[in-house]
């Protein structure tokens, strides 16, 4: 806190040694090597913490007074600008702040609201005026990806592609995220395949880890993640499934059918289109013995694999 006030109070850069002399909590004997190293570690920790809170630390050297680099906080960058919301805007912000389920995004919006409240804007009091009607989809991977994009760091995660049998480790320089048709996507440069790729967040099966240094890459101009997402989905030509459905059973499969028949004693043949083999297979498996997949072979194989997992699941 004193560090913030000290850096804020002067337009000049304050060197680390001057800060150590003046700011309470940093006092030490600079000739004592261990004490000085401890100070440096503490100072680095505090700087990182301030940046996380949003305090813009500038570093530079004051050409007239110092030789070692110093730090300052420019008031115009530090302070929340004057901001006023109409009732409708405040209601929208309050509703938006309640949207997230995922802890990091939730705490991000909560911290933002606290800063607004400190500036005298209480959006929560308008919350009732705005019907909360939207909740986004699965977003666990969204927060680390946004963080990686902001700091230009690479990420690593396990990904189960629609044609993959098991999840594969992928390394990506993410460029941007987008929501399309109720699903979140991330696009970027796939470091293992050395190509541009788009990933669906629901198919990320592991935690997203940030790897490597900051500013490791630049994001190309005019990246259109939405175009990537729609393209990635369009690339998969739909497959035709032919399944045998027991009489008067599996209405969910019948509903989706574009062709029913011929009808046989053991059931009705039903055909429909699909794009995602694992998802379709586990859905068909959920009907148990009421549905037998006839075609194509990879869907049969995947459905049987699901059923075997279910039948033999160990304790």
């Amino acid at each position: 806190m004193n560090l913030v006030l000290c850096l804020l109070s002067s337009r000049r850069f304050q060197t680390a040694s001057k800060i150590a002399r003046t700011v309470p909590g940093y006092e030490h004997d600079p000739d004592d090597k261990r004490a000085h190293e401890a100070f440096q570690r503490k100072f680095e920790r505090d700087k990182a913490e301030l940046r996380r809170i949003g305090v813009p630390l500038q570093s530079g050297t004051d050409p007239y007074f110092d030789t070692e680099p110093g730090y300052r906080i420019a008031r115009s960058d530090f302070e929340l600008p004057q901001i006023e919301f109409t009732d409708a805007e405040a209601a929208a912000v309050a509703a938006a702040a309640r949207l997230w389920h995922q802890p990091e995004l939730q705490s991000g919006t909560a911290q933002a609201l606290r800063k607004l409240r400190a500036a005298g804007i209480d959006v929560e009091s308008h919350a009732a005026a705005f019907p909360v009607k939207a909740l986004p989809g699965t977003e666990a991977a969204l927060s680390p990806l946004l963080e990686a994009i902001a700091s230009r760091r690479a990420v690593a995660f396990d990904y189960l592609g629609s044609r993959d049998e098991t999840a594969q480790r992928r390394r990506l320089q993410p460029w941007g995220c987008a929501a399309w048709r109720g699903r979140w996507y991330v696009a970027g440069q796939d470091l293992d395949r050395d190509a541009q790729r788009c990933f669906r967040l629901t198919r990320i099966t592991s935690r997203v880890r940030l790897v490597g240094p900051e500013d490791a890459y630049t994001i190309p101009e005019d990246v259109d993640v939405l175009a990537f997402a729609s393209e990635a989905e369009a690339q998969q030509p739909p497959s035709r499934a032919r399944v045998l459905v027991r009489p008067r059973a599996a209405w969910g499969v019948r509903r989706r059918a574009d062709q029913i028949g011929p009808r046989r004693a053991e059931g009705d043949e039903v055909c429909f289109s699909y794009t995602d083999t694992p998802v379709t297979a586990s859905w068909l498996a959920s009907f148990g013995a009421d549905v037998i997949v006839l075609e194509p072979p990879e869907l049969v194989k995947e459905t049987v694999a699901c059923l075997q997992n279910l039948a033999e699941a160990p304790r």
Binding site: P81, L135, V225, A289
Partner: protein, 325 residues
């Protein structure tokens, strides 16, 4: 530590913005901490100030009776700008709202987005949002809600695998997890239900006003931002409790299904306890997870999942045997 520093940085400008003073109880409530914590924070702030740290340099906060006001803020008049991740979390949520059909005042959302962008210290990344729900006929159901009429619908229930006709009193359209739902009083079930729009096979308004009985418990949520449960949630104490062991892939269900207990295991698996509507629903649910979930309890459910899967495998076996002949 960082939480406390963030709070201290907010406390001073909060008091500056309220020169008339704030009761300490209100201060504690607004910052979501105890009164004792607020007192500790204020005491710490007393010892902070400008270099020199003489009496005129330190932050001066006065208590009178139980009201807190600031006399000297040592230059801390405004809160810190929104950090990149804070502005982003809010602005992406606003974009989701703006894109969701039937969600109110779009112009207000757009201008709030502009103002937030100006309040953020760094340029926030663009996170485009388009079509937050799969269903394309949201406006039609929003219009139905607007019309105030009851309706007769044909609805496919995935959990029962049946289609049924029912008369409903529409309440509102809700978007969640990529789908739009019509929230309505179901006269057949005698309770509020969420109907996923893409499972409504037919819908015709009837010439009768919608009269959903007043439903308790939908208002009054806390300031912590705890969101309403997704419409996929149905949590009732008397429902059967099931215990599953979920693979890393299967864990996605914990986002859309409320769990009473989630325990992480060393190998990335998780044990969860959740309420099921009934064991028939639970059987379909576990089967649909394709082996990514193992049933731990009850044993009855474990057996019914296994025998359903075995019965299906037997049929595949028969088919293969028939081909071989």
């Amino acid at each position: 530590m960082s939480v406390r520093l963030a709070r201290l940085l907010n406390l001073v400008p909060y008091l500056v913005a309220r020169p008339e003073g704030v009761p300490i109880r209100e201060l504690a409530d607004d910052f979501g901490v105890s009164i004792a914590q607020v007192r500790a924070d204020l005491t710490l702030l007393w010892m902070c100030g400008l270099p020199g740290y003489g009496p005129g340099d330190l932050i001066d906060i006065a208590f009178d009776a139980d009201t807190v006001r600031v006399n000297f803020a040592a230059g801390m008049d405004r809160p810190v700008r929104l950090a990149g991740h804070e502005a982003l979390a809010l602005s992406v949520a606003l974009r989701v709202l703006a894109d969701t059909p039937g969600v109110g005042d779009r112009a207000a959302i757009a201008s709030a987005l502009d103002k937030l962008a100006a309040a953020a210290g760094v340029e926030a990344a663009e996170v485009p949002v388009r079509d937050t729900v799969v269903e394309s006929d949201v406006e039609r159901y929003a219009a139905l809600v607007e019309s105030g009429n009851a309706a007769r619908i044909t609805y496919y229930s995935a959990s029962r695998d049946t289609t049924s006709e029912r008369v409903i009193d529409p309440i509102e359209v809700v978007a969640a997890d990529g789908h739009a739902y019509l929230r309505a009083w179901c006269r057949t079930a005698n309770e509020v239900r969420q109907f996923r729009l893409d499972r409504i096979d037919a819908c015709a308004p009837i010439d009768e006003p919608a009269r959903p009985p007043a439903v308790a418990g939908s208002a009054g949520r806390s300031l912590t931002g705890a969101a309403e449960p997704a419409p996929t949630a149905f949590l009732e104490r008397e429902l059967p409790l099931i215990e599953l062991r979920l693979s890393p892939v299967g864990q996605a269900i914990t986002d859309s299904h409320p769990c009473e207990e989630i325990i992480g295991e060393a190998d990335g698996y998780r044990r969860v306890k959740m309420r099921a509507r009934d064991l028939e629903w639970a059987r379909r649910f576990v089967l649909s997870l394709g082996g990514e979930a193992q049933v731990i309890a009850p044993a009855e459910l474990r057996e019914s999942v296994r025998s359903a899967a075995r019965a299906a495998l037997d049929r595949y076996g028969e088919a293969a045997g028939a081909d071989g002949r």
